[in-house]
């Protein structure tokens, strides 16, 4: 999943990267335009999933991804200095969604959780099974929301198979040992609460 400059340069730039650039930086901007287009093609889905895991709202997640790429566009001259574009982009979108979530604390999230839970269920099962599965997903999502913030963040990022512990630590700006400890605590706490839930049911 890593991005090399060769991969980036192979992708053809879109029509929006046309001839509207300043002549003296045309070459540089043209290259960065190709690079940004490649990044959009390659990582927009991953970024959307990261954003959706936090917001659980389709429109907000897409808006966060767009905002992330706008920031990339503003810092296009620094693209060459980025070691790992994927982690860098995930970190950008992660900060955006957390910032937006912090600002919009008053907005009720119940509808988003139910909608998200329905989205997680396969449509190939019967209506009864669909409703039960959606309810269970919603319960799990609510239990995840009750976890401490640091543990919850690590748990959400750890669900992405392509992210290693070191990369999660880089996104969260912490150490790998801290990530492992938080992940362990989050899983244990979540399991305990879910067992209580199952027994209650």
């Amino acid at each position: 999943m890593g991005t090399s400059s060769a991969q980036i340069s192979r992708v053809q730039p879109s029509s929006w990267m046309g001839s509207t650039f300043i002549p003296d930086t045309e070459t540089q901007t043209g290259n960065s335009a190709e690079a940004i287009t490649a990044l959009v093609e390659q990582y927009s889905t991953t970024l959307y999933r990261v954003a959706y895991s936090v917001t659980r709202n389709i429109a907000e997640a897409e808006d966060a991804v767009q905002e992330a790429f706008l920031r990339v566009l503003r810092h296009r001259n620094e693209l060459g200095e980025i070691r790992d574009h994927r982690v860098w982009l995930i970190r950008i979108v992660w900060n955006i969604v957390l910032d937006r979530k912090r600002r919009a604390k008053t907005r009720p999230e119940t509808e988003d959780i139910d909608e998200c839970a329905r989205l997680l269920v396969s449509s190939s099962i019967s209506a009864d099974q669909y409703a039960i599965a959606a309810q269970q997903h919603a319960n799990i999502l609510r239990q995840i929301d009750r976890l401490p913030e640091k543990e919850r963040r690590v748990l959400l990022l750890a669900a992405f198979e392509e992210l290693s512990t070191a990369q999660i630590a880089e996104v969260l700006k912490t150490t790998e040992s801290a990530v492992r400890a938080r992940l362990f605590r989050a899983r244990r706490q979540l399991q305990a609460t879910m067992e209580k839930e199952w027994r209650r049911v």
């Binding site: 093609e41 927009s44 959307y48 799990i140 899983r187 979540l190």
Partner: protein, 166 residues
């Protein structure tokens, strides 16, 4: 979290890791990349419009004259307003007073002896010395004052003149 729930729980349970895994694999909305590129394009065009170079001004950036004009306008408005609301005639100050030494202030004070007071030139000359012992002094050769009640001197009566009867 890798252990399945106990067997005595009825029904198929969904584990938290299943939910998290599915959450991390959500399909993005159709046309996400195209919409992102469209937004980037609109932003890019907007940015390039602002910094487009003007060939007639020797590649002087167009945005700069606008900024200069805007700042000049703001400055003139602010300056004009300030001049309007804070106008007052400047008072002409009197020339500075030069203080002679000893006239004002303790720092330059010097001892000046008081000048003697002289009588005016046309003042009557006192011949009799002033009595300083509290008793009246009769001048030599003075007549004694008349005793009794003083009668004012009456003017002489005019002669009676008969007037013819009519």
């Amino acid at each position: 979290m890798k252990e399945r729930p106990p067997e005595n729980f009825p029904g198929e349970k969904i584990l938290p890791e299943d939910t998290l895994r599915l959450l991390a694999q959500v399909d993005p909305p159709v046309g996400l990349a195209e919409r992102i590129e469209a937004r980037l394009a609109s932003t890019e065009v907007a940015d390039t419009k602002h910094v487009k170079r003007n060939p007639w001004l020797f590649s002087f950036v167009v945005a700069h004259p606008r900024m200069i004009a805007a700042s000049l306008t703001i400055c003139s408005l602010v300056g004009g307003g300030a001049g309007f609301y804070h106008f007052h005639k400047s008072a002409t100050l009197p020339p500075p007073v030069r203080m002679s030494p000893g006239s004002m202030g303790a720092a330059g004070a010097i001892r000046v002896a008081p000048a003697g007071v002289l009588p005016p030139a046309d003042a009557p000359v006192r011949t009799v010395p002033k009595n300083f012992h509290g008793r009246a002094v009769v001048q030599a050769g003075a007549k004694p004052r008349p005793k009794g009640v003083g009668v004012p001197n009456t003017p002489p009566k005019a002669e009676k003149v008969d007037t013819p009867q009519q």
